[in-house]
Structure formats: structure tokens, C-alpha cells
Amino acid sequence: MRPDPRPRSHPTYIAFLVHRLSGLLLALFLPLHFWALSNAIAGEATLEGFLRWTDNGLVKASETALVILLAAHLAGGLRVLALEFLGWRSSQKTMVAASAGVSFAAGLLFLLNL
């Protein structure tokens, strides 16, 4: 890894870091998710068995973390697309990303009944 001279305390760098780390974790989880589902969905009984297996605290906590990672990566991705395709300025996109992320996280935490 080469040293990067750009400043790292800037909100844009935080946004970049959140997007990269959430993307990395989601990309590593995705093959596992698809593989597990493709095996579990062989009929209603096997899927029900798989879903009951997921009824434990560790899986529920992981699911909640994944939902938040997905919402964060979505918000960060919209920020990148707004910057690249709509020509939005850094201040605008950072505010949009922050508000979208906070509102999504709040909504999700509420709806997941945590």
C-alpha cells in the first residue's frame, strides 16, 4: 500500500472509508448468502428448517449488522453516483449521504424492533 498524501480527517474520506469497508464485508458475505439460500430453497419444508436455524441471537445480530451495512453502502453509492453523474458538489453529496444514512439506520433499527 502506497502512502496517500490526501487528508484523512475530511468527511469525504470518512464517507469513502465507510463505503469501502461496508462494500468489502458485503462482497465477502454475498457468495455465502447466495450459496446458503440456493441450498435452503428446495421446498417450503427445507426453507422453514433453515429459517428456524437462524432463530438465534448471534445470527439475528449478524443480520442486523448486514442490513445496516447494506443501507450504509446504498447511501454511499448514491453519493458516488450523484457526484459522478449529476455533478453535485462535495458539500451537497456529503450532507445527502449523512442524512440518508442516519434516517435509514434509525428507520431500520425501529422496524427491526431492537
Partner: protein, 110 residues
């Protein structure tokens, strides 16, 4: 397959995923209310072409998007670059997508 093609593929899949992930998150929130049940999920998807197409496109876009993202991180952090790595990432993305599409077909045919 050059960097420009991959950049375009990453943005096109991102635009598809921007819509699909919102649908997925809303579906998750609806599905978990009152607890997850196989009967409820399959009741929604069995024989439904719209969900089959949605999940098929979603799985393909997500598989490719994830692999292209990992390719970028591996190139930057690990120095894994070149045609061989590119083809390997493409293969990983397509195999991932195939498992997702298999799951979508399972939901349709269950």
C-alpha cells in the same frame, strides 16, 4: 476487458442495485414483521414471474458488482493486477450470481 469496461459495468450494476436494494430492504422489513416464515415468503414468490425476473437481475448485478469491487480493493491493497486476476474475478462474480439465480428459481418453483 479493460478498466473502462469494468468501470462502466460497476456503474450500470450500481444503478440497478440502487433500485433493487431499496426494494430488498423494504421486503426484509415487511417479511420480518411477526417473524420470518417459509410459507409467507414462498406464498409471495411461487409462480410469480415478476419476482423471478427481479431476483434474477438483482443476483446477476450483485454478483458482478461485488466481484468488481473486490477486484479494485485487491488491486489497491494487495497489488493483484492483470488479465488473469480480472478473469478470475469475473468468474467469481458469475459463479456467485449463478447461486443467487438458483435461489431465485427455487423461490419461483417451490
Amino acid at each position: 476487458m479493460g478498466g473502462t469496461h469494468l468501470w462502466v459495468a460497476q456503474r450500470v450494476t450500481a444503478m440497478i442495485l440502487a433500485v433493487a436494494v431499496v426494494v430488498h430492504l423494504v421486503t426484509i422489513l415487511v417479511a420480518v414483521r411477526g417473524g420470518l416464515s417459509a410459507a409467507e415468503i414462498i406464498g409471495r414468490t411461487r409462480g410469480n414471474e415478476a419476482w423471478l425476473v427481479f431476483y434474477g437481475v438483482f443476483a446477476l448485478a450483485a454478483g458482478l458488482h461485488g466481484a468488481i469491487g473486490l477486484r479494485g480493493i485487491a488491486a489497491e491493497w494487495l497489488g493483484w493486477r492483470g488479465r488473469g486476476f480480472d478473469l478470475a474475478w469475473l468468474g467469481i462474480g458469475l459463479v456467485t450470481a449463478i447461486f443467487g439465480i438458483r435461489a431465485a428459481v427455487g423461490l419461483y418453483a417451490a
